[in-house]
């Protein structure tokens, strides 16, 4: 009886030890492992299945980066607006989630050099009077009083707040929710990455919609960033140097361009300066 009790105690402490070890490795990231925060609900950038496997352009960039750094990738799925707080809380080492580099985000975290950049666009119903607009100034003026959907915490949301403040802005936790509301007519226009919206247009509920033929690039307004980079904690300067070097090499040898062709049918890789 006594012996049994002892064994139980041992088992318990062993279990406890395992839990603590697991907790530590998640927090500190064991040597040789790179934990990557990604959204997991932003096709074709980052899609997580129910088993936690992540695919998409972000996953490809992550895996290429891990291979270059000779580390093991470990993806952590987290809602987009919680990625920066979670990185600061050391839930993971880096963010790869199609995150644009902006001045506001730079106050919070560090970024690698931009490795990709793509156009942002508006999607509206085909019969909307906004559909035929060709220049950005007319478009922003015409949005006055209209409901526009954006994803919460994105550069698109900041851009809309700054440049089209007279529009009624609806913010969504995920892009899927925004697209449901676009399809059901709760919002008149949606503003996001052209690539993500392309995905919506290809779906059955997107067939009544089209792009407004205005490519909104980061040259229009600095809120739209300096391209897309890997988010790194500010104090982690050594890791930043290694990631910058690896990314430059991956862009230069065409690996990132190739991944981009797979997911976007176009090369969005951005050569490092």
């Amino acid at each position: 009886m006594l012996n049994m009790g002892n064994q139980n105690m041992k088992l318990k402490s062993l279990l406890l030890a395992t839990f603590f070890a697991a907790g530590l490795s998640a927090a500190q990231a064991a040597e040789g492992e790179l934990s990557i925060g990604t959204e997991g609900e932003y096709p074709p950038w980052s899609m997580a299945d129910s088993a936690g496997n992540v695919t998409g352009f972000d996953a490809d960039v992550g895996n290429l980066l891990c291979a270059k750094l000779e580390m093991k990738c470990n993806f952590v799925v987290q809602a987009f607006d919680g990625l920066i707080p979670a990185l600061k809380a050391k839930r993971f080492d880096i963010i790869i989630s199609g995150m644009s580099i902006t001045a506001e985000r730079k106050k919070q975290i560090n970024f690698s050099a931009g490795y990709a950049e793509l156009a942002n666009m508006f999607v509206v119903k085909k019969d909307s009077d906004l559909a035929g607009i060709k220049d950005i100034e007319t478009l922003l003026k015409s949005l006055d009083g209209r409901t526009v959907g954006v994803q919460a915490g994105t550069t698109h949301a900041h851009f809309m707040e700054k440049r089209a403040s007279s529009a009624v802005l609806k913010t969504y936790d995920t892009l899927d929710q925004m697209q449901i509301d676009l399809a059901s007519g709760r919002v008149e226009a949606a503003f996001a990455d052209a690539s993500a919206l392309q995905d919506f247009l290809a779906r059955p509920d997107g067939k009544e919609f089209q792009f407004v033929d205005v490519k909104v690039l980061s040259t229009v307004d600095p809120t739209l960033g300096e391209g897309i980079g890997v988010g790194i904690a500010q104090e982690n300067t050594e890791l930043k140097a290694r990631i910058d070097k690896a990314l430059c090499a991956l862009v230069a040898d065409g690996s990132i361009g190739k991944a981009s062709q797979t997911w976007f049918k176009t090369d969005i890789s951005r050569p490092c300066q």
Partner: protein, 228 residues
């Protein structure tokens, strides 16, 4: 704590304060009446009425409010007959209306259980005495049963009111800009999570303090003839 951020956050969150109050007020007004009807149905001798009320309260108390909100807002919004019906779309199409509906239906389920407890606590002798005096069933309910039941149920109902106020924060997930909705937006603009959510918490506390005080005053008023 950054004082400048506090100055920026307070007026923004105050805008959400009124919407939170309005959401609570309307959904409680609808939910109380619906809950009262359900409690009476539940205690009715009619099998169909009582089992409907029982099923309703099981379904709405047994599923999370967030799931109900998503079902009504995103789920119903995908059905074309809902979209083509102007009355249904008026309710489901707008985030605020949809939130009021979900909150009202949810609180009705809890209210019905609370009021049922109050109604069941009325001694049968009181009702019989009222009937012996010649009161109709409706008059007896209005003069005897309901006032006594509400006195019994008020402490538990005060608790439910506080839960409704806190439940309104879930409306932020369906694009409603109440306190939490504004707080989330401010968070992604400033990243000042501590300041923004501390103020949001204080605003909820303010609403609930007022509500709790009102319920206590009402309780004191209703029990003024009772010995202490």
């Amino acid at each position: 704590m950054n004082f400048e951020l506090v100055l920026l956050a307070v007026p923004t969150l105050a805008k959400g304060f009124w919407l939170t109050a309005v959401l609570t007020l309307i959904s409680v007004a609808i939910g109380f009446n619906l809950g009262l009807a359900l409690a009476v149905m539940r205690l009715s001798k009619n099998k169909a009425f009582s089992s409907f009320a029982k099923g309703y309260s099981t379904v709405f108390r047994g599923t999370p409010l967030l799931v109900q909100l998503f079902l009504f807002y995103y789920g119903l919004g995908q059905l074309s007959f809902v979209r083509d019906n102007p009355v249904l779309w008026w309710i489901v199409g707008d985030g605020v209306h949809c939130a009021v509906m979900a909150l009202a239906l949810n609180t009705a389920a809890y209210t019905s259980e609370i009021l049922r407890g109050g109604l069941m606590s009325i001694p049968g002798g009181l009702v019989e005495a009222a009937q012996a005096c010649g009161m109709s069933r409706l008059l007896c309910f209005r003069r005897i049963t309901f006032p006594l039941a509400i006195r019994q149920a008020l402490p538990a109902y005060g608790n439910e009111l506080v839960l409704v106020v806190k439940g309104t924060s879930l409306a932020s997930t369906i694009t409603v800009l109440e306190i939490t909705g504004h707080a989330k937006r401010l968070m992604s603009q400033t990243y000042a999570i501590l300041e923004v959510f501390a103020i949001a918490g204080v605003l909820y506390l303010l609403i609930n303090l007022v509500l709790i005080t009102l319920v206590r005053l009402l309780e004191a008023h209703l029990t003024r003839y009772l010995p202490r």
